[in-house]
């Protein structure tokens, strides 16, 4: 999985194609970073350098933008992602306990990935699904009204199932 990326990599080619669609406009930087993250799951350094070159923006700006926004990650994510909402509605309904339980059960802190690379734990500021609080997103699926006592088992099960 960690073979170095090359320009022949189909994913890298896709990024190049997308940049062309945006006419390599410098102001498309954030939209391009979204596409890179969608393709790779994070922002690999080699691709960031390519983006800087193609859009003709300084590498420092690409780096500055990549680190400013919470949504972007410079580190590889886990195979699966567990995103705990820590917004107000979820917080008053016990999101803190959910995060604690997951940290304990999987031995990871928010923003980290388990040593086997299977599960990444992260927190969100609000998913906009506050009516379902407390909410957790496992990969693409919203888990509504999560019970802190059961969440670790639920995630274990999903990991085993996949």
């Amino acid at each position: 999985m960690s073979a170095p990326l090359t320009f022949d990599d189909p994913r890298v080619k896709r990024v190049t194609r997308e940049m062309k669609l945006y006419d390599r406009r410098p102001d498309a930087l954030i939209q391009i970073l979204h596409i890179v993250q969608e393709i790779f799951g994070y922002l690999p350094e080699m691709v960031l350098r390519l983006v800087a070159k193609e859009l003709r923006v300084p590498a420092s700006r690409v780096y500055g933008v990549s680190t400013f926004y919470h949504y972007f990650s410079l580190k590889a994510r886990g195979d699966h992602q567990c995103l705990v909402c820590m917004g107000t509605a979820c917080y008053v309904k016990g999101a803190g306990k959910i995060l604690d339980q997951l940290q304990k059960a999987f031995g990871v802190r928010p923003g980290e990935v388990t040593p086997d690379g299977k599960l990444g734990l992260a927190q969100a500021r609000c998913l906009g699904a506050c009516g379902l609080a407390p909410a957790v997103v496992y990969d693409e699926e919203i888990l509504a009204r999560v019970d802190p006592a059961k969440i670790a088992a639920t995630v274990q099960e999903k990991l085993r199932g996949s």
């Binding site: 949504y71 969100a124 500021r125 609000c126 906009g128 506050c130 009516g131 379902l132 609080a133």
Partner: protein
């Protein structure tokens, strides 16, 4: 649609996550199996409001709303619509024919303008939007009204921006309209950074064309030919439906060149945010659309004079744009008669937290907090006591029971030390600790501070650490005094709204719940039992 009966299934984010997609596909399959395609239509729609009871299903003529309709219940629902026996009673949430039913208040006290199509039409179908009168306002305006007349109508309506500050929309339009420049822009602010708010999301998911129509009308009024919608990346369904809507509108000539064969051209592009609360602030949002770090800049100049790429730019919130078409259709006077004299129209609120009916509501301005929380929201579940309602997100405040009879409008909430904000309502019961809540918001602001100016960057961190110290039971009354000194200082000296409002939750909880602070400091006790005093929290 004619004689066909419509069964509308909620496909809003809330009901989606309770698997309404399966309810939808089961109903569609049953309709085919029974060969009743000519009699019944199964239609997906946006949020119907009572998200907690999902999946929701609306039966023909809008007069019966069913709750908790899983795939197993689909057959019974279809039977009822086809004239068979009624579906099990426990599925029924509301019927227009039974105004005294226990849940009726949830619907009766609401008045829908922004959400009138939401939950009724298929948001992925342009035809359905047109069938309920969509794009007529745009058409009528382009064929009959001058730009000035449109601005005048919006001014007459008394509409104020729904993004938080409540700035008069007509005035803002007028300012941009008067700027002399061949290039101007319209931006729709759909960042919705307030945690605890999902109104804009629901409007975009449930009725995207309404927002596009509002933007196009604004474009005509101010003289812009290009619009951007800045949406949060956390809202993939909203982005998808908006993309579909833009494509559909372009295909039918409702966006793009020479709309309705007039000389007016207007096109819209989506820009996806990347998770920074401060990007909801208008100058930061503009920086972000330009592909830069989303850091605010001092105003003036306001975006109306110098905005996107230095051009005059109109920025309004999603809900603000969603109000435009009905105002032009029914007239500014009609709109100004709703609500209160200085607060015209309705407001959409997102109810969340410790409240029985969580979900999306739309009420006339001027309704009381008590009516929202107890009549519409159904009160506090689990036999607990109401403690406070937090309005306005991280820049808002917590309002205690003594002020529940306050009317909801921009000024009244401000008098209480809170704000309307974008419309999040988070209800807290006696299991919430107000000091912890203040610490929570301060942590949020500290994390989201863009770091450009010192009062906000250093001040929020300092206040957070002091609050954490109080929660951990290590604080002295001197720390409290320091907090009270810091709060107004950060408010007065920060560059943008984030820093200027970050102390609000602290100030309002101190105002109404000072005894809780005292209990933490003097007695090393958390009355709500939330803070664990023995844990020496590592102060970051």
């Amino acid at each position: 649609m004619g004689q066909k009966r419509r069964i509308v299934v909620c496909a809003g984010a809330g009901c989606f996550s309770c698997n309404s997609a399966e309810t939808l596909s089961t109903l569609q399959r049953l309709v085919k199996e029974r060969g009743v395609e000519t009699q019944v239509d199964i239609v997906p729609a946006g949020c119907m409001g009572a998200c907690q009871r999902g999946p929701l299903v609306q039966l023909p003529n809008d007069d019966i709303l069913l709750q908790g309709v899983g795939p197993q219940e689909a057959a019974a629902v279809l039977d009822q619509v086809l004239g068979g026996p009624a579906a099990p009673a426990e599925l029924k949430l509301y019927s227009a024919r039974e105004p005294d039913a226990p849940d009726a208040h949830f619907f009766q006290k609401q008045q829908k303008i922004v959400l009138e199509n939401c939950g009724r039409i298929n948001p992925e179908s342009l035809d359905e939007y047109i069938a309920v009168g969509g794009y007529q306002a745009l058409h009528r305006m382009l064929s009959e009204m001058t730009r000035e007349a449109v601005v005048a109508e919006i001014k007459k309506s008394g509409l104020r921006g729904r993004g938080g500050a409540g700035y008069p929309t007509g005035l803002k339009w007028e300012t941009v309209a008067k700027m002399v420049n061949e290039q101007k822009y319209v931006i729709c602010n759909a960042d919705e950074g307030d945690p605890g708010a999902f109104m804009d999301r629901s409007v975009l998911e449930g009725d995207p064309h309404r927002v596009l129509e509002g933007m196009a009308i604004a474009g005509y009024a101010v003289g812009a030919n290009k619009g951007f919608v800045y949406v949060r990346a956390e809202y993939p369904l909203a982005i998808k439906r908006l993309e579909l809507a833009i494509k559909g509108a372009r295909r039918e000539g409702l966006l793009g060149r020479e709309i309705f064969r007039t000389s007016f051209s207007f096109d819209v592009e989506i820009r996806i945010g990347a998770g920074a609360f401060v990007c909801g602030e208008e100058t930061a949002l503009i920086a972000s659309i330009e592909g830069r770090r989303g850091q605010p800049r001092p105003r003036p100049p306001y975006p109306a004079e110098s905005g996107l790429w230095g051009k005059p730019t109109l920025i309004n919130n999603v809900e603000t744009f969603a109000n435009i078409a009905p105002i032009l259709t029914k007239g500014g006077e009609w709109f100004s008669a709703i609500g209160t004299p200085k607060n015209a129209g309705t407001k959409v609120f997102a109810l969340a937290g410790k409240i029985r009916n969580t979900g999306l509501i739309e009420v006339p301005m001027g309704i009381t907090l008590r009516e929202i929380i107890f009549d519409i929201g159904g009160g506090i579940p689990g036999g607990r006591r109401f403690k406070a309602v937090q309005t306005g997100g991280p820049s808002g405040g917590c309002i205690p029971e003594a002020h529940l009879d306050t009317h909801v409008d921009y000024e009244s909430l401000q008098t209480l030390g809170s704000i309307m904000g974008s419309g999040g309502f988070i209800v807290m019961d006696d299991t919430s600790c107000m000091v912890d809540v203040a610490r929570f918001f301060m942590e949020f602001c500290m994390d989201e501070s863009c770091g450009k100016c010192v009062p906000c960057r250093v001040g929020t961190k300092h206040m957070h650490d002091l609050l954490a110290k109080i929660c951990a039971g290590h604080a002295t009354m001197g720390d409290l005094a320091l907090l009270e000194e810091l709060a107004p200082m950060v408010k007065a000296t920060s560059l943008c709204g984030l820093g200027m409002t970050a102390p609000n939750p602290l100030i309002s909880t101190l105002r109404y719940f000072r005894d809780e602070y005292a209990a933490h400091i003097r007695d090393r006790r958390c009355p709500a039992g939330v803070c664990s005093m023995d844990a020496v929290e590592a102060l970051r």
